[in-house]
């Protein structure tokens, strides 16, 4: 086997196994940092060994055994003992005789769900939850996460270390909440997974196009789909997988000029992602428990349906946005409803439906600008486009808005 093939095999194993192995290794003590070090070490060892001896029949089991030995070496080392003299030395207690010793490496269980609930625990700073998931479940390094958030790598690393210390020090348990607590705890997990997608939408100017391999959007999709496989009976989990699949399906594969949704060519959308998203949505709606993510996914499905029918069903959008505003009255939902009202009942009706208190909300200004333009109020529309452009981070979208303002002023 060539080094390149071994590397590819190790990378494949890394993506699927990283979080699984970290969860198993960290669960007895809560020490995520040591677990991550051990897994990274095992992956590195795989890169050295596999090209020569071939990829083992059970790569996960091989990695777990190597990582576990590495973890044990650290526990036994004097360095680890003297670094923290007072807390219990795990080398003498649970871990050395832990369930890991009896664990069959050929039958590695799925512990990523526990890990997701740890990352989104209410005792963890909300701003750290998504970065933590990206790192400990998917193995992304702090620098890459920091780029997506538009913050420095050192600041992100600090935030992550603090959260991991907290998990160990306060002993947040690696458990899936029982039925009684599930309703209280699941929204935090969903928010954090959605956060990994949302950050790609508002990320810094260097953020790659969503469907490119460099984008975090693919990782967000992977997290959402994994969560749906782990909790297939939770409608909002399915709704989130549907939402990310469907909205990712319409995102550009290459960096280019901003194309508004209405002008996009449906032929460029990803048919497989759309089919996946629709399937998740069907499964979710079969449970008859509606939620915010299902509604947002249904809205995406209406847009995607233009690929089949050639038209966008605006009345369906109005119904869905109205329901969303009732269920989760965010500014985004209110602005989107106003835009739909504007298309159905005329621009003045749309303007009247715009929410108050959205002076610093970019989509509100972009929508106001379009509605003013449609109402023939060119000067006001140009000013609103300028305002929207000033509030836009993404340079491509900003230029698009500035061009609109210029076009409105141009004829004079």
């Amino acid at each position: 086997m060539s080094a390149a093939e071994a590397r590819a095999a190790a990378e494949r194993a890394a993506r699927a196994s990283y979080g699984r192995l970290v969860a198993i290794l960290a669960s007895p003590t809560g020490d995520l940092m040591l677990a991550e070090d051990a897994v990274s070490d095992a992956l590195e060892r795989a890169l050295q060994t596999w090209p020569e001896h071939g990829v083992p029949a059970n790569p996960d089991g091989w990695l777990l055994t190597v990582a576990r030995n590495r973890q044990r070496d650290v526990w036994k080392s004097a360095a680890h003992r003297t670094r923290a003299p007072l807390p219990a030395d795990p080398g003498d207690t649970a871990p050395l005789t832990s369930p890991l010793d009896t664990l069959d490496p050929d039958a590695i269980g799925e512990r990523r769900l526990e890990l997701l609930f740890v990352c989104a625990h209410p005792a963890i700073d909300a701003a750290a939850r998504t970065p933590l998931m990206l790192q400990v479940v998917l193995g992304l390094d702090a620098a890459r996460i920091a780029r997506a958030y538009g913050v420095g790598a050192a600041a992100m690393a600090k935030r992550l270390v603090r959260a991991k210390r907290r998990i160990a020090d306060t002993r947040i348990p690696f458990v899936v909440p029982g039925r009684a607590d599930m309703a209280r705890r699941l929204p935090g997990v969903l928010e954090a997974v959605y956060g990994s997608y949302a950050v790609t939408l508002t990320g810094g100017p260097d953020e790659a196009p969503l469907r490119s391999p460099d984008s975090l959007a693919g990782e967000a999709h992977y997290l959402a789909v994994t969560l749906a496989a782990l909790l297939p009976d939770e409608p909002e989990v399915l709704g989130l997988a549907a939402l990310i699949s469907l909205s990712l399906a319409r995102s550009p594969t290459r960096q280019k000029d901003f194309v508004p949704l209405a002008e996009q060519d449906p032929a460029t959308w990803d048919a497989r992602l759309i089919a996946d998203g629709e399937a998740y949505l069907r499964l979710a709606s079969a449970t008859d428990r509606l939620g915010r993510f299902q509604l947002e996914a249904a809205i995406q499905a209406v847009h995607c349906d233009r690929r089949r029918t050639g038209v966008t069903d605006q009345e369906a959008l109005r119904t869905l946005y109205s329901a969303l505003v009732l269920l989760a009255p965010t500014l985004g939902a209110q602005v989107a409803l106003a835009a739909t009202v504007g298309r159905l009942d005329g621009p003045e009706a749309g303007l009247a439906a715009l929410p108050d208190g959205a002076d610093a909300f970019q989509p509100a200004w972009a929508t106001r600008a379009h509605l003013l333009g449609a109402a023939g109020r060119g000067a006001e529309a140009a000013a609103a486009f300028d305002r929207a452009a000033a509030l836009t981070i993404d340079p491509v979208a900003r230029r698009h808005l500035s061009d609109q303002a210029a076009a409105l002023r141009g004829p004079r």
Binding site: L86, P87, A88, T93, H121, P122, A123, D169, T170, R171, I172, P173, V175
Partner: protein, 125 residues
């Protein structure tokens, strides 16, 4: 794993609160202590006298200073503590959620680092 539940609240008296409300609060605290005890998780519990009766010692420029009043003169004061021994943070949070003081102040849950047993320090685990 030992956790200390710290109760912070605005100090009230019979006069400001009324005897009836005060008595109700005391009943709630009794029931809470009973529940902790019966679950076998309670190591100690203490409600403190008002911070007007606290005395604070500090060293200023090498000299010991003894002062009337609390270290931090804030509206909310530390009013009491419960030390519990439970398996993990989720269980500790569940007990903290049931503390009567949740309704009128802030309840803090802090894991212990070490504790004294027979005059020697033991790691918390």
């Amino acid at each position: 794993m030992r956790y200390t539940i710290l109760l912070h609240y605005t100090e009230e008296t019979d006069e400001t609160l009324g005897e009836e409300v005060m008595a109700e609060g005391q009943r709630a605290f009794s029931a809470y202590a009973q529940a902790l005890h019966q679950a076998g998780v309670l190591l100690s519990g203490e409600v403190l006298q008002p911070s007007t009766s606290t005395t604070t010692l500090t060293t200023v420029d090498g000299e010991l200073r003894i002062q009337d009043g609390p270290y931090a003169d804030t509206k909310d004061q530390l009013g009491g503590t419960f030390v519990i021994d439970v398996p993990d943070l989720d269980v500790a949070l569940e007990w903290a959620r049931q503390a009567p003081a949740v309704a009128w102040g802030a309840v803090e849950v802090r894991p212990g680092a070490t504790y004294v047993r027979d005059g020697g320090w033991e790691p918390n685990a």
